[in-house]
């Protein structure tokens, strides 16, 4: 699977969440696939967010040169 950036991941997650929230009766089979996909994306998004957060902390430390 081609890696998506954080924004693309968030967009996809948003679509999945919107799908769940818009269903009056959830199709279990589709839901399972959606959950499976969302779990993958969440994993990837968390990993990327952690990376961003670490980089940010580095920058913050570097900027503290008074």
């Amino acid at each position: 699977m081609k890696e998506k950036n954080l924004n693309q991941n968030l967009k996809k997650l948003n679509e999945i969440v919107d799908w769940f929230e818009s269903q009056e009766e959830i199709d279990v089979e589709i839901a399972l696939n959606k959950v499976k996909e969302a779990t993958e994306i969440l994993k990837e998004a968390k990993k990327r967010l952690k990376k961003v957060e670490n980089e940010f902390e580095e920058i913050k430390k570097g900027a503290d040169f008074e």
Partner: protein, 386 residues
């Protein structure tokens, strides 16, 4: 010692018979001791084809006469135009010309007697050499000179005044010691100019203290003036004067009155450079300090603004991801298995209706910890769904 040599001469004179030539040689040797200065009025002046000049000096009081000769080379340098009736002071020594047995005073330098004559001679020479003194002939003193040639007497206050006022700009100095007083200074000055002409210098300075017109005789000499105007680098003449500016000073590219002024003139371009550098330094400092202020402001904006914005964004993302996670989790069908629900599948497909199966079909019942293989015995439609 003197008495001894006198008695020795007397003894020789009384005991020995001389040839004419030997006797004249002896006399000429003795006459060398009579080197002196003699004042008188010129008459019977004539110049031979060779350039040598012959004249007589007459004593104004009793008419006594002294025959004189001045060699061409000395006459050309002496700076005085000899003529009938001129009252002069000549320096030199007597000498007997052996082929004729005549005694003549050999002149080594001449100066005019009396301020009136000196002034007249000065004015005439000034007029004659006027074209050398014009502004168009003046060369500028070089900017940032570093090699200075100096002609002055090493005795006296002049050189000290000059050096004390010369700035510390790494000047290299080549000094030639020269007499600067009286007619005898002329030869020294000419020789010094010729010596420094061969040296690598940027500018030449000739200096002496003040004095009367008479003491400036050497500085009003035509040969010296011409030598200076032909000097290869710009010249500064700092010779103090009373009323009449010495002709050498008029011939210089720059004339100043004191050694201090000459030093200041040489310092000028260096001082200007020093001032410009200080000014540039100040503008660089002010540029840097304003740059640092701007930088600090930017730094503050980055730290207090941008970093906080990014931090907020990251926190926002975290919240969103957590919310996504909770929505996904709460909708996960498998989560319901833990609550006691199960998912029924036939050949991997989820069974949604009793229409999806037949009696004796083998179906999979997925529960929280595994799959139960089951065989359909009966199908019964729910009453509420019918």
């Amino acid at each position: 010692m003197k008495e001894k040599s006198e008695s020795y001469i007397k003894e020789i004179l009384s005991t020995r018979v001389f040839s004419v030539s030997a006797y004249l040689d002896l006399l000429n040797t003795l006459l060398q001791a009579c080197k002196t200065r003699v004042v008188g009025e010129i008459f019977e002046f004539k110049r031979a084809q060779s350039g040598h000049a012959y004249f007589s000096l007459k004593d104004k009081k009793d008419g006594s006469v002294l025959n004189c000769v001045i060699w061409n080379s000395v006459y050309n340098l002496c700076g005085v135009e000899l003529k009938q009736g001129l009252e002069v002071i000549v320096s030199g020594e007597p000498d007997i010309y052996k082929p004729r047995g005549e005694i003549k005073f050999k002149v080594s330098s001449v100066q005019l007697k009396g301020e009136g004559e000196l002034k007249k001679q000065y004015d005439e020479l000034k007029k004659k050499l006027g074209y050398l003194f014009v502004e168009e002939k003046k060369r500028p003193i070089p900017e940032l000179p570093s090699r200075i040639g100096i002609i002055t007497s090493k005795r006296g206050a002049v050189i000290n005044d000059f050096l004390n006022n010369l700035g510390c700009y790494g000047f290299g100095i080549k000094m030639v010691d020269s007499r600067v007083e009286g007619q005898e200074a002329l030869k020294d000055l000419l020789l010094s100019l010729r010596t420094l002409k061969k040296q690598k210098i940027d500018v030449l300075v000739i200096m002496r203290g003040g004095g009367s017109l008479e003491s400036f005789l050497a500085f009003n000499n035509e040969a010296l003036v011409r030598e200076l105007t032909g000097f290869p680098v710009p010249t500064i003449v700092a010779v103090g004067h009373d009323k009449d500016v010495p002709l050498l000073a008029l011939a210089a590219d720059k004339m100043v009155s004191t050694p201090t002024a000459a030093a200041n003139l040489l310092n000028q371009s260096w001082q200007r450079l020093e001032w410009e550098l200080k000014e540039k330094e100040a503008s660089v400092f002010s540029f840097l300090s304003s740059f640092f202020e701007k930088f600090k402001l930017l730094e503050y904006k980055v730290k207090e603004g941008l970093l906080r914005i990014i931090e907020g964004e990251i926190n926002d993302l975290k919240t969103r991801i957590e919310r996504f996670q909770s929505v996904v989790l709460s909708n996960d069908p498998e989560r319901n298995l833990a609550l006691g629900y199960s998912i029924a599948r036939k050949s991997g497909k989820i069974i949604r209706s009793i229409e999806d199966i037949k009696i004796d079909d083998v179906i999979d019942l997925e529960v929280s910890d595994g799959i139960i293989k089951s065989k359909v015995n009966e199908r019964k439609k729910s009453k509420s769904k019918s």
